[in-house]
Every structure is written in C-alpha cells, then in structure tokens.
C-alpha cells in the first residue's frame, strides 16, 4: 500500500455504490468495467469490498471508488455508512427477471431517502446477451452469475426456445427512468456491451461543483464548516497511505 505514497492524485474521487437484487450482475458489471473481464458462474460476492477505476473525460479525470454491497442488501441490512457521501449509484436489474425491476425501484426510493440529494443514479438493465436485441448473444449458455449460491435466478430463465429471455421491455424501464430522472442503459457484463458507456455517462453527469472536494457534498445532513482539514489521518501526522486505494 505504501508504494505510491505521496504521488499526486489530480483526479477527483467519486464514490459510487452498487444496488440491486442478488444475482442481477452487479459485481460482474464492475468486473467488466475495471478488469475488462467476465466470469461465468461467478460465486456470490465475497471479498470484493471496493474497487477503483479511473475514467478519462475530455476535460477531467474521474476516479470511481466503487463500493460493492458485500451481500448486505440481501436481507435489507445495508448500513447508513454505505450510502454516506455517495455521489453516484448504479441500480441494476436483470432484464430477464421482472421482480428485479421492482426491487430496483425500491432501491431508487431508498437512495432518494438515504443518500445525498444530488446523487447521480443510473438504472441498468443487465444480461442483454440473453435477448434477441444483442447481436453478441451467444445462444444457449445462460449468464448465470448466481450471487446467491442456489438462490434460483437467471439459470432457469435463460433458455427460451427463441433465444429471447427478455421479460422487461426497454420502453417500460426507460419510461420509469425518465420519470425519476435516472440515467438508463441496457448492458451485458458478459459481452461488455454498453458497460463503459454507463460509467462514462455517470462521470459526465456528476456536476463540476460537487467535485471540488474529494468527498463531495456529503450526506443529507452533512454540512461541514471546515472541509477536509479537520480529518485525522491514523497512519501518522499528514501521512500517506490513507488516500491509497482501499479494501476492508
């Protein structure tokens, strides 16, 4: 952790939180974005706390600090610290699974209640490779990144005779996203379709003003008098490592 001590970090950090029903592909989307990688039959998320990825825009660089739910969403047990200071959220549903959009709407409401007022929310319908709409859809093999370890998700829904497992129309989700002023994309973490576009769109949507400080505007009741100079660094007086990327 100490190797990059003291290196300048010109980019602005943006905390991005992931939300959505188990097994819709939250971690897979991030894995595709960060490592350009995809794993079939991925286990439920364990060990992934926090990933970082830079996103270069023409005028600025955004460094996403991407927080995974670590499974705490499953029994509605996310802590306030998860939402705190989040400037962006990715609310993911599985477009082959109608209940997952209902759940996504619930998370959007929860964000509007718990998170900073200016938070940028993107609604993402994942698993586009399981529909006809995707030229890249490789027939047969369902994208089963079952996060629940047997929690009955994508597997059974995958193999429609026509090869189209879509259960949620683009129009339906898009209309909802427009009503709630959300960014909207349909993606495939498996093929990579539209994945980087989601993150670029989020980066573009973050208002310049909220990038001034490294921590953004703060949670609903956060109104700081001093900014960052009152933070204490536990690795020593004005030490290093703390700004380095992090995990639990």
């Amino acid at each position: 952790m100490a190797d990059s001590a003291g290196a300048p970090r010109p980019s602005s950090s943006v905390k991005l939180v992931l939300l959505g029903e188990a097994a819709v592909g939250k971690s897979s989307l991030v894995l595709r974005f960060v490592n350009n990688d995809f794993q079939e039959n991925k286990e439920p998320t364990i060990g992934a706390a926090f990933l970082t990825q830079k996103c270069n825009l023409p005028t600025r660089t955004i460094k996403f600090e991407i927080w995974d739910t670590a499974g705490q969403e499953r029994f509605a047990s996310l802590a306030p610290m998860y939402y705190r200071n989040a400037q962006a959220a990715l609310v993911v549903y599985d477009l082959t699974k109608p209940t997952s959009l209902i759940k996504a709407k619930h998370w959007v409401a929860e964000l509007q209640r718990q998170a900073s007022p200016g938070i940028v929310i993107a609604l993402v319908g994942n698993k586009l490779d399981l529909t006809n709409a995707s030229a890249a859809a490789a027939g047969g093999n369902s994208e089963d990144e079952d996060e629940e370890g047997g929690g009955g998700a994508a597997g059974g829904d995958g193999g429609d005779e026509s090869g189209d497992a879509r259960k949620i129309s683009t129009d339906e989700a898009k209309t909802y996203a427009e009503e709630e002023s959300l960014l909207f994309f349909e993606t495939s973490a498996k093929t990579g379709h539209n994945v980087s576009e989601v993150f670029t769109a989020i980066a573009n949507a973050i208002p310049e003003t909220s990038l001034k400080s490294t921590r953004g505007p703060g949670a609903s009741n956060a109104v700081s008098r001093g900014g960052d100079e009152q933070r204490v660094n536990l690795t020593g007086p004005r030490g290093d490592a703390a700004k380095d990327s992090c995990a639990c």
């Binding site: 499953r74 009741n221 536990l234 020593g236 995990a247």
Partner: protein
Amino acid sequence: MESLGEEPWDVVICGTGLQQSLLALALSRSKKRILHTDPNYYYGQYEAALTLQEAESFAAKHAGGSSEAEKKRSVVRNAAVWKPDDAEAQGLKFPRAYSLALAPQIIHTKSKLLSSLVSSRAYRQVEFLAVGSFFVYEPAKDGSDPKLSRIPSSREDVFSSQSIPARSKRSLMKFLKFVLDFESDDQKPLWEAHADASLTDFLTAQFKLEDDLKRYVVALTMALDGKASVRSGLAAINRHLTSMGMFGPGFCAVYPKWGGLSEIAQVACRAGAVGGGIYMLDTSATMKPSGENEKASLELPNGITVQADSVISGQETTASVQAISRLIAVVKSPLNSLFQVLVEGAPTPAVAVVALPSTPSPIYAVIHSSDTGECPVGQCVVYLTTLATAGSKHELEQALVMLVYAVEGEDSTSPCLYQLYYEQALGDRQSTTENHGTTPALSFPPLSATIAFEDSDLEAVKTAWSLVSGDESDEDTYLVFEDREGADAEDEVYE
C-alpha cells in the same frame, strides 16, 4: 431464505454492538460460515447512532425502570425523549438530520482500538475528527460570571499558560514529568505504596499542587465518581499526555464522524460481510433448548431454525446496581468558542469536554459540533454523563443550562431543541460463557459507559475470537490483515 437453516453455522453472532462487530471483523478472513443478526433494524445496539425517530422507539422500548424485586436489570432503563412544543419553530430539523450517539466515547490516539482498525485495514472507511480542549466549569464567585477554564494538557501548554502562577507551574511541571514515566522503576517507589489511596491527597502530599491545579488533574482522569485512585488516576493522566500529538499536533483523542462507535460497528460488520458473513437486521435469534449431545439451535422470527457450532451474543441484563445517567441534548446554538484551533497546524476540533463540579459525583459534558454530522450546522449536540442517582436527570438538565450560559454569556433557560435521557448499567465487566449442548456460548458484558473508550473492553473480543477459532488461532493474525484484492487497479485508465 431456506438455505439459512440447512447447514450448521460455524458461528452465530447475535447483536451488532461494538464487541460483536469487532469479532465479525476479526473473523472476516477466517473462511468461517458466519450468521450475524441484530434484533433492531439498525446497526450498533447500545452503541448505535439514532435518528430522532429511532431515538423515540429506543426510548419507548427502554422506558421501564428497574423494580427492586428484579434481580436482573436491563442494561438501559428509564429512557425518555422530550422536546419543546414549538421545537420546529425554534429550529429543530427533520428527524434524519440528527444522529444521536449512544456511545459517544472519545478514543485516545494510543488506544488499541485504533491500532486494530489500522492493522485490520478497516480504518479507511471511518472519518476521524479531533477532540479539542478540555475545560473545567468555574461557578460564579465574588460577582464574576461563571466561566469555563481550559485545562492545559501538555508541557508546552503549561509553559505558555497565562493563568497559572510561576510557582504553581513548577510543581505542575514536576508532576507532569513524573506521570510521563510513572511506571518506571525510578518512579514506582513514589506512588506504589499509595496506589489505592486518593489521587487528590497524593497530589497534595507529593507535589504540593494547589486546589485549582488539582481540580484540573482530577478532571482529566475522567473518573465518573470524581475519586480516582492514585493507580487509576496516574494511568489515565499518562494516557492523556502520551496520546497528545500522536496523529498530529494539538489533540490526544479522536472521534468517529457520524455517531462515534456506531460507525466503527458498521464498518466492522461490512468487513464481516465482505468476508462472506450473512447479515440480518430486524431479526432476533432465540436460543432453543438443546440436548446434551446436540449443537445449539436458534430460532429466527420467520420460523427458520439454525444450528451453530458457537454462539456469541451480548448480555441483555445485568446484576449491576450502579448505572450512569446520560442526557443527550440538541442545543440550538453552535457553541463555537469551544472548538477553536489552539495549536498551529492542528485540525479543527469537533469535540470538547467540560467537567462540571457536582455532588455526589461530577458531571461530564461532551460537546459535539455539527462537523460530527450529528446535527445540522448552527446547532450542537451535548452529551452529559454522571453516576445515576434519584435526582440525576434534573441535575443534568441544570448542568446543561449552566454550561450554555457559561459559553454564551446570556441567560437561556431552555437552550434545548430535543433531548434523550436514559440510564445505562455500568455492567459486570466480565463476559459469561455457558454450554448449550455441545455448543459454547459467550456473552459480552456491556461496554464501559465511560467518557473515553477503555481498551479493557477489547479483551472480551479476543477471548471470543480464541473460543471460535479454537486450535486454528494464531494470536499474531488477530486483527492483522492485508489489503483486499482489487485495490490495485490504480493505474489502469479506462478511456
């Protein structure tokens, strides 16, 4: 949901208080199957941070007193909330704008809690703020107004102090020098014979400290009964002095932003979840009777029964009679003068501590600025603590009025927008273990309800960790972890 009950869990942890949560953090790399539940719909139990709405349900739940007939008493009792009828008109904001800490302990920079958070890599998700000045309340006398006197708390501070006469400075400096290595063989003979005697008397006899200075020293021990012994008092002052400057100039303790130990509990539970632990809030797990050769079974509210190889929980009742009274008050002015930066380069303090003389025991007021995220800008939250007596609620309310008057200089009989009062047992200090069938079960004692976090509260966590880890336990790995993978994408840039 069904899968919860199929296989026995290695550990079921009941409750997300600080100690249970730190245990979850300690086990987060062990690959053990962990189910972690809490009966409340928020994290932290008696260390939680509450919105005003949550404070109301907390007060309703713990409103009961402790009847003399009951041998066992609940840990928290006599809770009540109050606000003026026109609180909103006076400036009270919406309930979620507040985060009232049930465990507002300051944490000395030397505390093992902080070094454990660093070695376990959990510290990065907590924002720590500086605890600034310590004050003693001086009542009005000879026509002068009541005021707060700042306690000089380092040798530099004593040097530069205007209010201490030169002769007194010398004796105080001599005392401070002594305290810094009071445990050395050179200094031990000076105090060991009086270890259990009163610190005040010792200061008089050995250092000829004047009354004012003795009050400063005794206040800094933060002993709730105001009667620190020589041994415990010297240890407390030593901790205070040696913690000074450790993470930067001008402060000896820190406070986690957004609600104190609640924040650490949340971060520790998140680490537990990242390690694969399953989290269920709003879920009480009830122990079912089990046969001699069976594992313990616990029943969850949805009718599911789970089995466990070990069960860790917190004591819900206590035989302890002694309790503290705590008044948490949202004050409608920011009391800014308490949060000044006094040393160049020091972070802006967010917490100040005031000792108010009172009988039979002193009252400590710990004031949190809005920088803590616990209240909106323009207000502050005052946490008043004293040993519980029949009249202590009224005394704390009086102390609040006196404090605000001493800071603001103008009379305000009702400085308060909202208040939560409760009494909390001081606890038995010991974890309890018993067996349910073949399953060992350990219950943590309630956390010390002291002004500063006590490292001794961490011992039970390690005991529980050893119990759960069994033969695999290697003490060197306790709460010492590498950073998790995925933190290395630093230099790749997605165009």
